[in-house]
């Protein structure tokens, strides 16, 4: 068992569809500045190692960590880049956790940074370049690229998500109004968060339902934006964290689990997930992380959750699969206000990925926001005291899930 790891601080840059005022390194240093401002006794020189990552090929600039070193303050210090697609942020968070937990001599304080400036490049080309190596086998089997983009609804993430949405809607018998309700809650929450992108304080369910379909059952108003932004998390040991901040956030469990792919199989084969809303990988990763954190009944013990949900159907699905609600009951919870900031189990009080999506950073913003809620420093702070919280991320062809379980005290030791 490694060392107990704590989060001492978390920072964000401002998010917008086009951060035309900054370059990519400036965006990153904005998040680092905010992170260090929240823990005043830490200086950039006190940081021993750096872990960073973004989605490859989205900005048309590869290996940004090498020419960004000075902006991160990582000169002559251990530097590691992790990139796993949509879960990049989650993997970077886990990477930062591992770096501290390993207990290497001289490495106690680690800064994890995830960023994305999507306005710099072309997201569709980026996604295609990520996936093309795998799907090009289908071209050799006679399916042209044009036909393939049609089959996957233009090839973007919505292509796989809309299949999942249809599956989930049938399974839990919900309507589009229920989906719109989730969007409205998220965008209202985003309006109270200083760094969020789509701030819509006056959005109504009708407004969302009046927008045209992008891909049934997902409408234009339900889909996440493409944002520019960065996020930074400060990991340190238990002893140091107590000096650095009032309420250190203990990282009690981490997991990253990949299941079989949905919609598209490896090498042009059939996909193993018959029902893409079943999500056995998410259940497994939740089980692993909760076991590490000694949480046996997440429904009662978790006080706050940040789930990675670019599309509203996924938010409903993940909270069920991660064990926060019973199956097919999430819609009722959103109707009754259980998931609102003042409710019993607030979910995505930052507006979630549905309101802000800087892809590489998104999965890190989830644990970062959850950590700030525990510390009591979040900009849309929930009124109740948060003891345990989760940050979740998904990526790949709906098959890779990252989970981070945090608490205001360390996991109970086994008797």
């Amino acid at each position: 068992m490694g060392r107990q790891v704590c989060i001492a601080s978390a920072g964000f840059s401002e998010h917008a569809s086009k951060r035309s005022d900054v370059s990519m390194p400036e965006l990153v240093s904005e998040a680092i500045e905010d992170c260090l401002n929240k823990a005043p006794s830490v200086d950039i020189n006190d940081i021993d190692a750096f872990v960073n990552g973004n989605m490859p090929a989205f900005e048309g600039a590869n290996m940004p960590e090498l020419w960004m070193t000075d902006w991160m303050g990582a000169r002559n210090k251990p530097l590691l880049r992790i990139t796993t697609g949509g879960t990049t942020g989650g993997s970077v968070t886990i990477g930062g956790y591992y770096t501290v937990a390993a207990g290497l001599p001289g490495i106690d304080t680690v800064l994890a940074i995830a960023f994305e400036q999507q306005s710099q490049g072309d997201t569709s080309t980026g996604l295609a370049s990520v996936a093309y190596g795998e799907i090009s086998v289908l071209n050799s089997l006679g399916i042209t690229y044009e036909q393939l983009t049609q089959l996957l609804s233009a090839g973007a993430a919505i292509g796989v998500a809309s299949y999942q949405a249809t599956n989930y809607m049938r399974r839990s018998k919900i309507t589009e109004e229920d989906l719109a309700r989730v969007v409205v809650q998220n965008r209202h929450n985003a309006a109270k968060t200083w760094w969020a992108h789509l701030k819509m304080p006056d959005l109504t369910i009708e407004d969302v339902l009046n927008t045209p379909y992008i891909s049934y059952p997902l409408r234009y108003g339900m889909v996440c934006p493409a944002s520019d932004g960065a996020c930074a998390l400060l990991f340190t040991t238990e002893e140091k964290a107590k000096e650095l901040c009032d309420i250190p956030v203990y990282v009690n469990g981490v997991a990253s689990v990949a299941n079989e792919t949905g919609v598209l199989g490896y090498n042009g084969s059939g996909a193993g997930q018959l029902d893409t809303s079943e999500q056995l990988g998410a259940m497994k990763s939740a089980e692993l992380a909760f076991n590490q954190a000694k949480i046996s009944f997440p429904r009662k013990e978790i006080d706050y959750a940040e789930v990675y949900s670019p599309f509203p159907n996924q938010e409903l699905m993940w909270v069920e699969r991660l064990g926060l609600f019973e199956e097919n009951s999430a819609t009722e919870m959103y109707k009754n206000g259980v998931t609102a900031p003042k409710g019993e189990l607030p979910i995505n009080c930052s507006g979630g990925v549905n309101s802000t999506n800087a892809i590489g950073a998104s999965a890190m913003e989830r644990p970062a926001e959850a950590a700030l809620q525990i510390m009591g420093k979040a900009s849309n702070q929930v009124p109740k005291t948060v003891h345990n919280a989760i940050g979740h991320g998904w990526g790949g062809i709906i098959n890779l899930i990252t989970m981070i379980v945090m608490g205001d005290e360390p996991a109970r030791k086994a008797k």
């Binding site: 401002e14 035309s20 049609q150 407004d207 891909s215």
Partner: protein, 176 residues
């Protein structure tokens, strides 16, 4: 495709940013040579030319992959048993794409489905017959392969899926 369909912009609180220097640039992406092992596809494609369907079965967990897969992720075993499959299947999931016809400018609603072939344990993306109204698509819909007329070899010999007309009562139950 989202850009081609009609869009209504939604209002949100925007902040104006000063512009920093922006340099437009473009990449000429080189030619790549991706490597695949598709030896397991050969018997499958040969049978497809004869309008016959075969799936590859994992001898450890008995799951049938259609189209075939080189490795079963569950057991880490090479599936090696070929099984015959029927032409029918069921819709495991579907979505509707909204494509604008470049000539007439009409938005075409086309259902795109994930089909689970009867006897197999995997799904594959396919198109539905143009005769099927997109509003009638549902999960669990019985479908049947419509073969292409000129066989070129390859997966596109399955042109699209036709709806199977079936009056049996249990289907109505499945439709909810």
């Amino acid at each position: 495709m989202s850009k081609r369909t009609l869009r209504k912009s939604m209002d949100y609180i925007k902040k104006d940013y000063v512009r920093t220097r922006t340099m437009p640039g473009s990449w000429y992406l080189s030619n790549y040579k991706f490597k695949f092992n598709i030896t397991h596809f050969k018997p499958f494609l040969d049978k497809l030319k004869e309008k016959k369907l075969v799936g590859l079965q994992c001898s450890s967990c008995n799951r049938v992959f259609f189209p075939p897969r080189l490795v079963c992720g569950k057991c880490m075993v090479k599936p090696d048993r070929w099984v015959d499959l029927r032409e029918t299947g069921r819709v495991a999931s579907f979505t509707i794409t909204y494509l604008k016809d470049p000539e007439t400018g009409d938005v075409l609603e086309r259902p795109i489905v994930l089909v689970q072939q009867d006897g197999s344990d995997t799904t594959f993306t396919a198109e539905l017959s143009p005769d099927v109204d997109y509003k009638d698509t549902y999960i669990g819909m019985p479908v049947k392969i419509h073969w292409a007329e000129d066989l070129k070899g390859g997966l596109m010999e399955i042109l699209y899926y036709d709806l199977v007309e079936d009056d049996s009562k249990d289907l109505e139950l499945r439709k909810d």
